[in-house]
Symmetry: C2
Subunit: 228 residues, 2 copies
Amino acid sequence: MRPPQGWEEIRAEVLRRIDRRDWRPGATIPTEEQLAAEFGCARATVSRALRELAGAGVLERRRKAGTRVATHPVRKATLDIPVIRLEVEGRGQAYGFRLIDRATAVPPPAVAARLGLAPGQRLDRFRTLHLADGRPTALEDRWLNLAVLPEPPPADVSLNEWLVKTVAYTYGDISFSAEAATPDEALLLETPAGAALFITERTTWAGEAPITSVRLAHAPGYRLRTVV
Amino acid sequence: MRPPQGWEEIRAEVLRRIDRRDWRPGATIPTEEQLAAEFGCARATVSRALRELAGAGVLERRRKAGTRVATHPVRKATLDIPVIRLEVEGRGQAYGFRLIDRATAVPPPAVAARLGLAPGQRLDRFRTLHLADGRPTALEDRWLNLAVLPEPPPADVSLNEWLVKTVAYTYGDISFSAEAATPDEALLLETPAGAALFITERTTWAGEAPITSVRLAHAPGYRLRTVV
DNA sequence: TTTGATAATATGTCTGCACATAATAACCCC
DNA sequence: GGGGTTATTATGTGCAGACATATTATCAAA
């Protein structure tokens, strides 16, 4: 039996031993040094494999105490969150969007709190309907802090696409929830009022300055997946 | 200005340069070797920092082509998905659960397909209501393949907790969606019929054998967060 | 002009070593 | 025994060097 070579094969071998219950949940597995000796590789290579598995929540590691198989599956799933256009095009549909309205206003308290704004400060609000093959797929409600942008956005291109190419991206916060469609949302998304909508909310900073807070209401049927 | 030391400081420095638009979206940043020379460290240390950022979707790396700042923010957010008991206790509430019913039956086609079962194969179904401070917080609908378990589950402890301690965990699939509460679900979760519920679905294999498929319907107000 | 072989190059990975750090175990003294 | 100090130990991080590999650029032949 050829020993695993390369950190990916070692990771697979460790997973296999957990699957086969050689190493049970809660049990301590051999030290990096022992595994390196068994597999005939350097400790750093074993370390890399175990670190990845710890990052995925499969193992728990502590100095001196060693490495053990995780008992409580606080899984760390990794999500891909693409921009809507790519998501639509990835399904083989034609993407489009329509600007519903645009205004300058004081954002609701929840948004102001998320962005860390002084009360009463005004922001620009854009509401955009995203279309897949002409049918609405998501309603975007974006509050944008134009004051901190390095240059004013052009009027002729998608605000989204301009933003991602222009301002830096260090998402501070993403959250997901389910909400019933308001009459307004239902109308725009062409769905019955009260339908269950999947909501994505993102708040973005560039360094210290809050840039934008977006709420995406996805049309019914939307599903967010992770693959491990 | 002291140069960053350690891969975490280097990661922070790279992020800062992106934030400050020194390196703009789409632009190629210096090579690992150049950065290592600038920061006065080994290439491996820079490599570690850049690899982490690429894993988070901030950078895109290709051999020979180099490293560039990601343009389309296919962000890779990392989610923590704890077991419900820990989630409830983490909020400082008292956890409890109640087994609603248990049966052996042929699962609906969607579940059978997810698990890759032959049509007509029977599984065990457990429905459990999870409680926080006595109030329902989530409804669990679990289909379990008892045949592949190494030993039959005991009757006196929580099936969940026994499962995670006994069988290996290699989640194959997790998905999130929003659905309207059925009358049955609404009754159990003490919420109006048709309320928007946040749904988590997980399917688990141990090696080749499908173990279990779980559908969790969270009571209204549930929110899944990521921290970057 | 196109095609195909070849060279150049940046990242990907590995090794072997060293030291830092956190957490446990061992010990000693009262 | 109890409590506090010290030693031990496994992981975490770092470095320098080497080779592997994917991809691009270059250049010659058809």
